[in-house]
């Protein structure tokens, strides 16, 4: 089973990388970009039947830092 975990910074947490990307987009002449937030995409290939609770624990224990980040788990159709 393929699982896609998206990790993003919580609202209100300053994102210097997103800001730099934003700045670079403006430098290239793209207009109307209001905000940029950079995150992380982690793809897992796990045993079929891996429980949602186990996936959640993987995110909380390692994949995301709950102090500054949120995560979203998405099961991907094969």
């Amino acid at each position: 089973m393929k699982v896609r975990v998206s990790v993003s910074l919580k609202n209100g947490v300053l994102d210097p990388q997103g800001r730099a990307i934003h700045h670079a987009l403006e430098g290239l002449g793209f207009e109307g970009v209001r905000d940029v937030r950079a995150g992380r995409l982690i793809e897992l290939d796990v045993a079929d039947g891996t429980s949602d609770a186990a996936l959640d624990e993987m995110c909380r224990k390692l994949l995301a830092n709950m102090v500054i980040e949120n995560y979203r788990v998405e099961k991907v159709a094969a």
Binding site: Q17, R40, K61, L62, L63, I68
Partner: protein, 226 residues
Amino acid sequence: MSGFRSAVVTFPGSNCDRDMAVAIEQIGGGTVHRVWHGDAELPDRLDLIALPGGFSYGDYLRCGAIASRSPIMRAVVDAANRGVAVLGVCNGFQVLTEAGLLPGALMRNAGIRFVCREVPLTVETSQSLFTSGYAAGQRITLPVAHHDGNYFADDATLDRLEGEGRVAFRYADAVNGSARGIAGILNPAGNVLGMMPHPERAIEPAHGGSDGRALFESVIGALVDA
């Protein structure tokens, strides 16, 4: 001071472990054990455990994240909870926050750039195991060398740190965007200190300064006398 027992943990990618061991040995004497991240146990009867600077596991995932889940860290967390003194510098500070021994997180510097220079700091408290050799409010200079030293915690946590006298060091100038200029913090019991500046790189005049020396003298002196 020959009875002082300490350990310096080396993770894959640590690069200040030798400097840390030299500083402790020079100031405390005794035995400085070098411990590998994959070890499951620490030597017995340690007075001090140091987590050095560097780029453990290439800073993959998040700085300090993988190192904080390595086998030796379970033993370090147990020792810290038993009251053993733990000092984390730079990457070691990041490892301590990722391990949950200290609150908050260290994020990418607000200015994006890697910062490598000497910075002025204010010692915020002299009432700690690690800072008793300084005066509260004393201005010192230590080197920093980091890309991710931007301390973040929510306001309630920051208020608690300040209220409980757990901010050990503060940047005197803007360095990396850290919340309230925080450069180093203590755990509630005061036996764990995490800081981004490098005291082990400032222990003798040949380093260009020796303001880091008092930190080692404080903690080693307190523990040897105990």
